[in-house]
């Protein structure tokens, strides 16, 4: 088990006005993300709880790339990881951001 936070200080404000969304499920090879609009609009925080230790730098890379590609300011992402591959993590993050942007 490992828990850590990755903070992005200068994120572009996330569009939409949805307060909260969930995406994915904590199952083998998958993750659950709870997204909440609770932060100042240029900040983004990702809280990770994962059973697989030792991949923090990889998480950092995934999350930075995600925040690069996607406006995430104001959003806090809380992740329960069931051992997902980085591509699944990235996909779920993108999906979470899209949901907060008001997409169905």
């Amino acid at each position: 088990m490992e828990q850590f936070q990755i903070h992005v200080a200068s994120a572009r404000p996330a569009p939409g006005d949805r307060r909260q969304a969930t995406v994915g499920v904590n199952a083998s090879g998958n993750i659950e993300i709870l997204v909440e609009r609770v932060l100042p609009e240029t900040e983004c925080l990702v809280e990770v709880t994962t059973a697989v230790t030792g991949y923090r730098t990889l998480w950092q890379a995934v999350i930075e790339d995600f925040c690069d590609r996607c406006p995430t300011g104001g959003l806090r992402f809380a992740i329960n990881d069931g051992g997902a591959r980085p591509d699944i993590v990235h996909l779920r993050l993108m999906q979470g951001a899209r949901l907060m942007g008001g997409e169905p």
Binding site: D65, R85, P86, L91, Q95, R98, P104
Partner: protein, 547 residues
């Protein structure tokens, strides 16, 4: 005085000895080992029909039971080495040398036998290449083949799984070899004649139907969202712009995903009738929804697929069928179609290096190639144009002249990570190291980088046709290699520049919403759904049924 008919005389001698086990052409199953010992001699080149799907397993077991003191040093020349008895031949010392195409489940066993010196490897071929060598320097002395039925004159009915049989028989029978067929049943009248009796020396009614592996059945229940995302990218980013109508799909789940989203996502994109109309393809059950939705005009098949026979019989406008109604497959001819008449090959691989070379040989496993290297290569002898071929050719050069030739689209679909977080993108293919260890002259490469036109991963599409030098190519590959070490090693600026030129395209660049990459997009979610789509004509094998 020179002897010009030694082979024919040798054949006559063997036939004379074997005759005591036969009643005309019919040999009783109980005599099979003694019989084989009379037609097979030490040092023979033997094709023990092991195709991609059907297996002459009864004859394989028998051959593995002969006395090694009497028969040894056989040279096995067959496309598929997939049965335990195939390996037993080498482990027991009955056979020594091997030339083949595909090994699938025996990949590890072959690697072990190579390592321990039990197998002397000739080469790993693509199908059409091995077949070609049957007529050049690997002609079998004895062919042990499989068919559904025979009559007493030796005429054979192969049923839907004709596969390699006509090619093997052609090479053996017309070069003074001996052809022995195991059949499920000897009958008076055949539904149709696939192999004329004049080319067949003996038939044996086996104690069981020959084994057929359901190799191309992909359960829709196992298709992942990542594979669906990749399938969406392939459809929108490759099929649509090139207008690919004639193609081959590989065996993996990503292409199964493509087949399953044709009637949904493909329909939304308005592509029906414009892409994916003609296939060189095994009878993939996952293509049923697209066929039923009117996407497909014609399919020619390498072999059959377990459970698809009735469906194909009732869809003779789509499939090639005999006058008896059942499918006629032919691996050699379908491979030829795949090489010359397809504008695109799209399939999965297990490993890709920085030059785009791809391999399914991962450490400790010699999987073989099957047909991928053939269909996944540009046919330099092709002379007929098509829009997709011409467009690909023009992308590959800076200032296309009126003489610029076209190009085949060769698309590799690969998820950036494999099982247990093993990166699928590597600096050097495992097969290079393996070749060193096993002292192979040629490191096995399934598809060479210079033949690959596109790589599709969950991160995006890299169009290698648009790359102008090795450096660009490398960055294009790194740019879709995700969070693997190869992907993380990208030059970000170079990748962004390639993206600006459309060499790399991300889902968002193609207007693909990651939220829509869900399993709801699949036209069938289960094998049962495929049965429903087929109107009950598809009969899946037991291991794929849960009812």
């Amino acid at each position: 005085m020179a002897q010009w008919n030694k082979q024919r005389s040798e054949r006559e001698v063997r036939l004379a000895v074997a005759a005591k086990y036969a009643d005309g052409k019919v040999v009783l199953a109980g005599n099979v080992v003694a019989f084989l010992s009379s037609v097979v001699c030490t040092g023979d080149r033997v094709c023990l029909e092991g195709d991609n799907q059907k297996q002459a397993d009864f004859l394989a077991d028998a051959l593995a039971s002969v006395d090694k003191a009497q028969i040894h040093d056989l040279h096995i020349v067959q496309s598929g080495v997939v049965l335990q008895s195939h390996i037993d031949l080498f482990e027991k010392g009955i056979a020594r040398k091997l030339d083949f195409s595909y090994s699938g489940p025996q990949g590890h066993a072959i690697a072990r036998a190579l390592d321990s010196g039990k197998i002397e490897l000739g080469a790993v071929h693509t199908y059409i290449e091995l077949f070609a060598r049957y007529f050049m320097d690997l002609t079998p002395n004895v062919a042990l083949i499989a068919a559904v039925q025979a009559d007493r004159a030796g005429n054979l009915y192969t049923g839907p799984n004709t596969e390699d049989t006509p090619t093997i028989v052609e090479a053996t029978a017309f070069k003074s070899g001996i052809v022995v067929a195991q059949v499920n049943k000897i009958v008076d009248t055949l539904p149709r004649v696939d192999i004329p009796g004049g080319m067949v020396d003996f038939v044996i009614e086996a104690d069981r139907p020959f084994y057929v592996e359901p190799l191309f059945t992909r359960d829709p229940a196992s298709v992942t969202e990542i594979q669906i995302l990749m399938a969406m990218m392939a459809l929108k980013g490759i099929y649509a712009p090139y207008g690919v109508r004639r193609l081959n799909h590989g065996i993996g789940f990503p292409t199964a995903a493509i087949e399953l989203i044709l009637p949904t996502y493909g329909e939304q994109l308005g592509l029906r009738g414009k892409v994916a109309t003609h296939f060189a393809l095994n009878p993939h059950p996952t293509l049923i929804p697209a066929i039923e939705s009117g996407w497909v005009e014609q399919i020619h098949s390498f072999g059959s697929e377990v459970g698809m026979d009735s469906y194909m019989q009732e869809r003779s406008d789509i499939y090639f069928t005999g006058h008896d109604g059942t499918l006629r497959s032919n691996r050699l001819l379908c491979q030829a179609a795949g090489l010359y008449a397809c504008d695109m090959f799209i399939g999965s691989t297990l490993q890709i290096d920085l030059a785009g070379n791809s391999s399914t040989f991962t450490s400790g496993r010699i999987a073989g190639f099957g047909g991928a290297p053939n269909m996944g290569s540009d046919a330099r002898g092709r002379r007929h144009p098509s829009p997709a071929w011409l467009m690909a050719g023009r992308e590959a050069v800076d200032n296309p002249t009126s003489l610029a030739r076209g190009r085949k689209l060769v698309v590799q679909m690969i998820e950036t990570f494999g099982e247990k977080m093993v990166p699928n993108f590597v600096e050097e293919l495992d097969s290079v190291k393996m070749a060193e260890q096993l002292k192979l002259e040629l490191a096995p490469v399934m598809i060479y980088g210079d033949d690959v036109s596109h790589i599709v991963t969950e991160e995006g599409i890299a169009n290698l046709l648009l790359c102008r030098n090795a450096e660009e190519r490398e960055q294009a590959i790194r740019g879709v290699a995700g969070f693997t070490p190869v992907g993380l090693g990208r030059n970000r600026a170079a990748v962004e520049a390639l993206r600006a030129r459309g060499v790399i395209r991300r889902p968002e660049d193609m207007g693909i919403n990651p939220l829509s990459a869900t399993r709801q997009l699949l036209a069938a979610h289960t094998i049962e759904d495929l049965v429903t789509w087929s109107g009950g004509l598809y009969h899946p094998p037991a291991k794929f049924r849960n009812w």
